[in-house]
Symmetry: C2
Subunit: 197 residues, 2 copies
């Protein structure tokens, strides 16, 4: 009893992360009630973004310019590269305003299960960039999962020839976190890496 | 550090029900990684739907034709009108395939808090339709909330002149539901409306 145009809209909305079939229907209804206020602007914003977005040829970030805003920013510290899994993690680090170096987006993590091999990731270009004498440090900001840590290991191996310090993010108690709710691994890591008060 | 096109996309996605600022960012990233596979088709589907969808001039349903598919279907029972809050509730009832009559979409429920008055809802046109001698019954399928029940009361008042039976959905234990998790009101209603086994 729903027209094919609406069915198709619901099906496509259901492919967004965080939306299932039921919430996609709710989202479609919400859009249908706000055709001029939301549906048309959102459609236009998607078309515009799809047209404008490109992958940065230097670091692999997604942006509306190439090189991306970060790579093109002359004030950034070009001696540090921060290696991230994808552009979302890059955005998360940018939001902290705590990092002023450059990035390198791997495009995923190694995964035997999902068939992601080292040659599927941007590891070669990273090794290339790390050979630049201006680069002194490579920070591995990869997920603290098994796949993330395997990836970190492989990346470190590939950086062996380059004259760079390889570091990783600290493990520990999340700021604002209760000890009671933490897993044993994190608590052990936080204890081992304790710092003078 | 994100281009204005991406910022705008995130802002608009965050207006969808079920997506907050954080999940809107994740959805935007998901779309940006699948530009040809999802972002462009979804943009097109929204534009097509926004163009095609109209409000049914008979019942208030949202569909790609007017009168809507339900109102235009000659096999539906024209002696019963089922009154719903919005098109989403109509879809939910249609999915059950348990109802073969027509609908009337009120467009909301009365709400002192949100300033929704009787004249903001499609109550007049409902009274008009109910005066048709072919209509024998009006089923109030309104939410079992305070606002929904106030609306049901006002609608019933407005139907007083018409020669129709007014009924409402049964309250009771949801099928598959555990008694333990039910609120007292529902359990009381289910007990009072008990049926011979």
């Amino acid at each position: 009893m729903i027209g094919p145009e609406i069915e198709r809209l619901i099906q496509l909305l259901a492919k967004l992360p965080g939306l299932g079939p039921r919430s996609a229907r709710r989202a479609a209804l919400h859009l249908m009630k706000r055709r001029d206020g939301l549906m048309v602007p959102l459609s236009d914003a998607m078309a515009t973004a799809a047209e404008a977005i490109r992958t940065c040829s230097v670091c692999g970030n997604l942006d509306t310019r190439d090189p991306c805003t970060v790579c093109a920013d002359a004030t950034r510290d070009r001696s540090i590269l921060c290696v991230v899994e994808d552009a979302g993690d890059l955005w998360a680090l940018e939001r902290t305003r705590a990092y002023r170096g450059l990035y390198h987006v791997l495009g995923g993590t190694l995964s035997a299960l999902n068939g992601v091999r080292p040659e599927d990731l941007s590891i070669g270009p990273l090794a290339e960039r790390a050979r630049d004498p201006a680069v002194r440090e490579v920070i591995l900001a990869l997920p603290a999962t098994v796949d993330g840590q395997t990836t970190a290991h492989v990346v470190t191996d590939r950086l062996a020839g380059a004259d760079v310090t390889v570091s990783r993010l600290a493990h520990g108690v999340p700021v604002g976190g209760e000890l009671d709710y933490l897993d044993d691994g994190t608590l052990t890591a936080a204890l081992k890496a304790r710092r003078p008060y």
